[in-house]
Point group: C2
Chain length 469, copies 2
């Protein structure tokens, strides 16, 4: 896989198609053509083009068609030869906490309370500052790009620094600055938190890559008046509202005890549900609550591996899909998963719900792959821009190796993508038409510098936790 | 990672240790030293050596110690520099059907009956011959080696050809020639099947890499007299008996209906349970049945991803571990998983049972990794030979990349191995002291030839199925 400069070699264009195009019709110049290979569009017809091509200009897709037709109509400045490979829309990771990548493996196999109270919260209090957030974000972004993820929905502190790092690396993000009712690393109180959110959303509104959002942490960590304030803010700015929702059984029990309503019911009663909301987890929701989410156009993000590892439960995914809910997939943070590979989430989602439903026909490979692409775009309310290879959409796409021995022989393309493809099969990644990975090499990030700074901060985390113990 | 010829460079051995060794004490010559890196021994003390080394001679491990002490005591003809990497015992895949790798993705997301009756059985009847078995085995073995698996327990038809392919590729196998009460591709009836088993076990008994076994398919496909005959055969030859057991709820219901006993109870009543048995799946077993398996020393192989994808159910793993049952991990065949990565099984086993038990402390990372190594060796009754890095055991080991961005930062070694390491992190693989993978390159197999022959056979499978439809 290589990106070559200059005009396309004529020998990739059969003479017959030259004639069909009239021969003397000038070809439209474009920045780039990704040429050859199986093109999995995820468009409304779910077209899969056996020998396809994608033409890209000014960050947008200008053609998705057979290689022959694209090569006849367009002339590219740069090319990616994808013959023998597979071209897909970039994957969408709907829920992450990128700076927490520095906490990977810090504490595993503990119950959620021990994990949060005795490790994660102290580690955050002692370590999380802007430099930490920048380093953890770079480390996480490198893993995302190498794994074929082109859009991430993140929520954390110092999200302005997260946004700067994503923009510099060229990754697309829906980024939520946190709102939480206890002193946060970047905001001592509620008014400081709201001020930071104001500045953050103001600064990034309209950016090509970054969609800023307000991120009230969860119904159980943000008081009702502050939740209502967050909804008003989101409405005023027309920005998304990202939240953790109905993740654990304990959350439901406490919500019933304190408010007399289950978490989704409670947010509905506060008037919080809307087409601007992205709700992570939604493990503990009953049929009428799924109906509420559907009616209000809420996007939902399913995190199967995190929910398994923390023993949170199983989200009612088949019931969500039956309602055509906008549900995507997420990895959650690396402190609770412990990686950012969406390929494993796709594979796990397809398998887990077969098991839980006792029906191997549930969540087909195609449905699972949709959640990582076009349905995941709907979950983030970004389906006008991303999630499929269609003319006019942003040029976010991934070229995959498909001839590795562990993928052969290729049968159904969705089966191969869901059950046999790994992050390590990702060769090339483009976001907004810009190449971020080329022949498995990171172009916009310095891998060695990230390794070195991560190790330094890692030592700091361990030393400070040891001192405090 | 490179294997250099000649004596070790002196600069890897600190002067202090030279003095400690007396300086003039001659070092014992050995074939190979794997030097440096974190050595995860899985020995009875579960030693993890921060800067360790393994000395190897005549296919056996002759030392596992700090790098300094090994370098002082031994002089190697060949070396593998593992500094900055991690050295582990080779992984043990306790249940596979390697030739079925050619059926990868042939049919997914169907119920088990449709899948078996309408796709797998017809596909086998129309395609499985010795050439098919050889090609599928080579394809599967390539994936196993690339993924750090050094021992596989396989059961299929033409197992003699499977054994020849494994021996040629240098992989260790516990291989069961199938016994089933319907005409098989390699045996028209029961006496032909038993004759093939006789020849197979006779031929491979005592082989350094291959442990031959008899493999009655399952209690529901082999009549009771034939099961008893298989047990007598195994006893006479002191060879393992490999079987599918209690995989689905349907199997339990039919066993109760036809025999008045559950599958494990039924085998116990026939006198089949013994220290020679390796039972795959054991999803549907109650406490008293687990006690029976433990009392009789039966090895059990858990296949979490296959059981999820086929909606078979969840094996009672925590109850097995509580009884210290010899339970390992398997991928099952690529027709039902759809890969041969044991890394994903380890990760899934650790996460799945947390979810099912609603307790994130269940199946710790270390317990999960034990199932892929030393406990998996016990499941195959091979713990005297493999499963840990200990003096006297066979030199089956794997060198892993541990500095990839998606593994950083390294915290607990077991956490990193279980939750963040992938098949693509495997750099070097040795079996019986012989390097099979070096710098991610296959040494004993021709990857291009395997690709090409797999594609040819793939076309044949599809064409024959289409013709029959």
């Amino acid at each position: 896989m290589s990106v070559s400069q200059g005009p396309p070699a004529l020998n990739v264009m059969p003479a017959a198609s030259m004639a069909a195009a009239g021969g003397d019709t000038p070809r439209r110049p474009v920045e780039r053509i990704v040429s050859g290979g199986i093109v999995v569009t995820m468009d409304p017809q779910r077209r899969v083009i056996a020998d396809g091509a994608v033409a890209i200009d000014a960050g947008r897709i200008v053609a998705v068609d057979s290689r022959e037709r694209v090569e006849v109509a367009f002339q590219a400045t740069e090319r990616i030869e994808a013959g023998g490979r597979t071209v897909i829309p970039g994957l969408i990771n709907g829920h992450a906490h990128l700076p927490m990548t520095l906490f990977r493996g810090l504490a595993d196999d503990q119950n959620l309370d021990d994990w949060l109270q005795h490790t994660i919260f102290p580690a955050e209090a002692m370590n999380v500052d802007e430099a930490f957030v920048r380093c953890g974000t770079r480390l996480g972004v490198a893993e995302l790009i190498r794994g074929g993820i082109t859009t991430v929905c993140d929520m954390y502190y110092y999200e302005d620094a997260v946004a700067e790092e994503l923009a510099a690396a060229g990754l697309r993000g829906l980024l939520g600055q946190a709102l939480i009712d206890f002193p946060a690393p970047d905001a001592p109180d509620h008014s400081a938190a709201m001020a930071a959110i104001h500045r953050f959303v103001e600064r990034w509104a309209g950016h090509a890559l970054i969609t800023p959002a307000i991120a009230p942490h969860a119904p159980y960590t943000v008081a009702d008046p502050h939740l209502i304030e967050a909804r008003r803010f989101a409405d005023d700015r027309n920005c998304p509202l990202v939240i953790h929702l109905a993740e654990t059984r304990h959350e439901v029990e406490e919500s019933l005890r304190l408010k007399g309503r289950r978490p989704v019911e409670h947010l509905a009663s506060l008037g919080l549900l809307s087409e601007l909301m992205v709700a992570a987890h939604v493990v503990w929701a009953e049929a009428h609550e799924l109906d509420l989410l559907r009616e209000h156009g809420v996007g939902v993000v399913h995190n199967p591996q995190s929910n398994m590892k923390l023993a949170s439960g199983v989200a009612p995914l088949p019931a969500m899909l039956a309602r055509d809910l906008a549900v995507g997939l997420g990895t959650d943070g690396s402190a609770s998963n412990n990686d950012l590979s969406l390929w494993e989430e796709i594979d796990t989602a397809a398998k887990l719900h077969k098991l839980i439903s006792a029906d191997p026909r549930v969540v087909s490979a195609q449905e699972a792959f949709e959640m990582a692409t076009i349905r995941g775009a709907r979950a983030l309310h970004l389906e006008e821009r991303i999630g499929s290879l269609e003319v006019g959409k942003r040029a976010d796409l991934v070229v995959l190796e498909m001839n590795e021995l562990d993928q052969m022989p290729l049968s159904s393309i969705y089966s191969a993508l869901v059950y046999a493809t790994k992050a390590s099969d990702v060769c090339d990644v483009l976001v907004e038409g810009r190449p971020l990975l080329q022949g498995r090499r990171l172009l916009s990030l310095d891998a060695e510098a990230i390794q070195s700074e991560s190790l330094t901060l890692r030592r700091q985390v361990i030393e400070r936790l040891a001192l405090a113990a």
